[in-house]
Symmetry: C2
Subunit: 242 residues, 2 copies
């Protein structure tokens, strides 16, 4: 299996290279809306932005946790390389999602831009300093959401088969994109990434998708799009009523 090794040196300021706006080391000031609308997925966000190119690491596992981020445009994948060389994708972050919120000195996962990505970037010092209740609360909400997502992930990996996993993934994507039946659904990541997210091999992922295609539940116009033909049958597959 093709294993994607860490695509960057694991040390140091991987994020600094593509900074678009200067980040004042003392924290984001009046302009920054990082904490605003913590519960809102689609908001115009002001404040220092940073752009990342395809495959560029935002930060790597072990880097000093100096900033936290929110996705404005594009998608980011959170992953870890396990000791056996395999990669586990912990989360796919879409616009509105926050990450890097760990209250720890060093990041415990690697964050990489999937395609072109625009991020809102907030120095950790900012969080320490800002004591306004609302901001703190928003931070709690974001962390809490990440926790629930991780627990959902655990539940899925624990006792579900390949069909259930792939179906659940497609449904989750459809919800995130607000995409109904018979509308094209964009896959933000490739097959290998999907496989690493679902804890499967790329082959099993492929086969399962073709099975769904043969069953007329989805169609696959091209490699980066899927159309859900029959939502309820897809949901049935996700529930294990295959």
């Amino acid at each position: 299996m093709l294993q994607i090794k860490a695509t960057s040196s694991s040390s140091g300021k991987s994020a600094a290279t593509a900074a678009v706006a200067s980040d004042r080391p003392s924290g984001c000031t009046e302009g920054c809306t990082f904490f605003q609308s913590g519960a809102c997925k689609t908001t115009e966000l002001r404040g220092p932005r940073t752009k990342f190119a395809r495959r560029q690491p935002v930060y790597s596992e072990g880097d000093a946790a100096t900033h936290c981020y929110r996705v404005v445009e594009g998608a980011v994948r959170l992953s870890r390389i396990l000791s056996d060389g395999h990669r586990q994708i912990l989360d796919i972050l879409m616009p509105g999602d926050s990450f890097g919120l760990e209250v720890a000195d060093y990041f415990t996962a690697t964050a990489e831009a999937v395609g072109e990505v625009v991020l809102l970037r907030c120095p950790r010092a900012c969080i320490e300093r800002r004591s306004e209740t609302d901001h703190r609360r928003d931070l709690l909400v974001m962390l809490s959401r990440s926790l629930t997502a991780a627990q959902d992930h655990v539940a899925m990996l624990g006792h579900q088969g390949a069909k259930e996993r792939v179906a659940a993934f497609l449904i989750k994507l459809a919800h995130a994109q607000n995409c109904g039946a018979n509308q094209p659904l964009d896959l933000p990541i490739g097959r290998q990434d999907i496989a690493d997210y679902l804890g499967l091999t790329i082959e099993t992922t492929c086969r399962t998708m073709t099975d769904l295609k043969i069953s007329q539940i989805i169609s696959i116009p091209n490699r980066s799009q899927v159309v859900i033909r029959n939502f309820s049958r897809l949901e049935a597959v996700a529930e294990g009523d295959a």
Copy 2:
């Protein structure tokens, strides 16, 4: 397979029955040290305590999230029942661990006492009200720790085989109990619980443990204890160098 159905009605105040101390609905006051020493695992904690008997639910999935908790004595298991009836244990909480911190209206998992358990119980209103920076920060630390634990869990379930999972579980337990080689390690939960935590069947869990025993890596004096004979070999197994 024996499936443990939710052991309580899924509605309402499952936690109230065994309350030892009265909980003032307006929040825990001066006496409560829920937030103190958020980073410390072994601390004397003051404040309202609650005792739970073996198998008693602390709260159930779907209950209103009115309180959060910290384990003082004993162990608590966090679990979900999946749509196919299977159970996934999300976490085993030991003394010092906090849970129920979700910033949501309803709990997304069930918490049950494994044996006799003593908990510290803090009304959610308390969190909303207390704006002291340190408390907020402690809450963030606790949530952050839960998130990292869940991500570790995901990484394990994603790409590891049965041997790796069981070995990693034993090592994790040993660390939690500060237990070295050739010392008896207490298993706080039974085989079925271990299996549900590791995403395996009880049979596979058993077999894997006997394999470890045959390999002289561990010994099993009785069903609730394990002795790690060779720590480094166990670690090797956990890393996949079986």
